[in-house]
Symmetry: D2
Subunit: 146 residues, 4 copies
């Protein structure tokens, strides 16, 4: 199943602090889960995002989109599926799916985040030049998942 | 200036807890600010969102989009500008601008959230029927801001 | 090593969203980690806290104390060590240690939380009466760890 | 009423994101409110905490204690009352009360936070030496409120 190989998968358990009084996960927390998804994705490929930061490179989010299909609930185990949708010289885009991992398998939300590589002065940098090793890892990963 | 009348404006000061180690506001927190924006907007029109919930009506977010232009920083005063972009029978959409209120006046982020009115069973409800008074308030507000 | 048997241990990786601009974990987040600690502790003993809530029992926090010794940092793996320090008819107290699990093994923080069992009306309930099975599990657990 | 003069007071409205599925404010958020309390307190005395950080001084929390008396709820306006309980050469302690500002006036929680002044290397610094102006402001403030 090629489709299944496309995505990196990690899972997490919903925290009480992530719920709100609607009895479901507060919608902003999906962005935190996306962050975990892309961090674990690139870690698996041999790169810790904190190493990029220690080189003075930051990857701030410049655009996000989330579509919520079904609510996640306290104590659910959810699966975060992540892939690189686009890798440019200074921009990159990840795509995500959040699934209920145990009970239903249903897709709870889908989304994407777009990032720009910047230096400590918040000016864009060409990753391939500033950190060729990191760029190479991302490029290989992007190829595998597209 | 008609443009200025279109938007409801409220302001808030960035909390230390809203920053991350990049030295700026963590991107998920803008969704919390959007929430404050729409809450204060409809409060000004005479409706507290909590009254809707006390009637058994919830307004979960079903879609969000945010574009980040400049980072917000700790202790900044930011202005949240909100308007109703669309009001349907069961769906509604808000639009937002986050501005630096004091120093630069710059737009820091823009975004939108889409909502569906549901009952406690999470099934969609026609607001005009379930809570005609709330619907009327929103309708008037939507007209003013479009 | 009896000491080692006293504590239930689980581990988690520090999220980017948990940091603040001081470059370390924001101090309030340790309370979320304590929550994870006690949840996983009692889950291991055969009880999911959400089952208590589904019976109409809540376990709000009525007192907390935390001592911070060394900062936790982004991407660190931390160990949450939890034990029941006291189990009464309507109150219970947990104790915690947060340790750096990989690099130093150092204790980063210690703390305790005190809870009261209440019903949906927020009035205290005697757990042994309201949910004898849950009480029995907690009692056995408390005995083991004291 | 001397008692009333002792405390600095500011107020805030409970955010939806601060609630949890118990239908009340998640207990960790009181620490964020304490932070706002002490920030606004010292701002009123002529010092923005961010100025201390721009001088390379940090004021991490080394100990907290909170006692929860009544839950705060969504959309409540709460009053954060803050005072300096102790000011030493490198340590200081704040005390807090959280009150329901509108409906009941009840005290919802009380607490304290203890801080140590450190430099960017996280080593303790004598504030009176490192930033005499800030120390003077805090000293005057501490005298007024004790």
């Amino acid at each position: 199943m090629k489709r299944e190989r496309d995505w990196h998968t990690c899972s997490l358990r919903v925290r009480y602090s992530e719920t709100d009084q609607m009895g479901v996960v507060y919608h902003a927390n999906y962005l935190t889960w996306f962050e975990i998804g892309r961090t674990e994705f690139i870690r698996e490929k041999g790169m810790a995002y904190k190493e990029a930061e220690s080189l003075g490179l930051l990857m701030p989010v410049v655009d996000v989109q989330i579509r919520y299909l079904h609510p996640a609930r306290y104590d659910d185990v959810v699966e975060v599926r992540t892939r690189i949708a686009e890798l440019g010289a200074i921009r990159m885009r990840f795509e995500y799916e959040i699934r209920n991992a145990v009970q239903s398998g249903a897709i709870l939300a889908t989304g994407r985040t777009e990032h720009v590589w910047v230096g400590k002065d918040w000016k864009p940098v060409r990753l391939a030049k500033a950190a060729p090793e990191i760029y190479r890892v991302l490029l290989e990963t992007a190829r595998e998942t597209n």
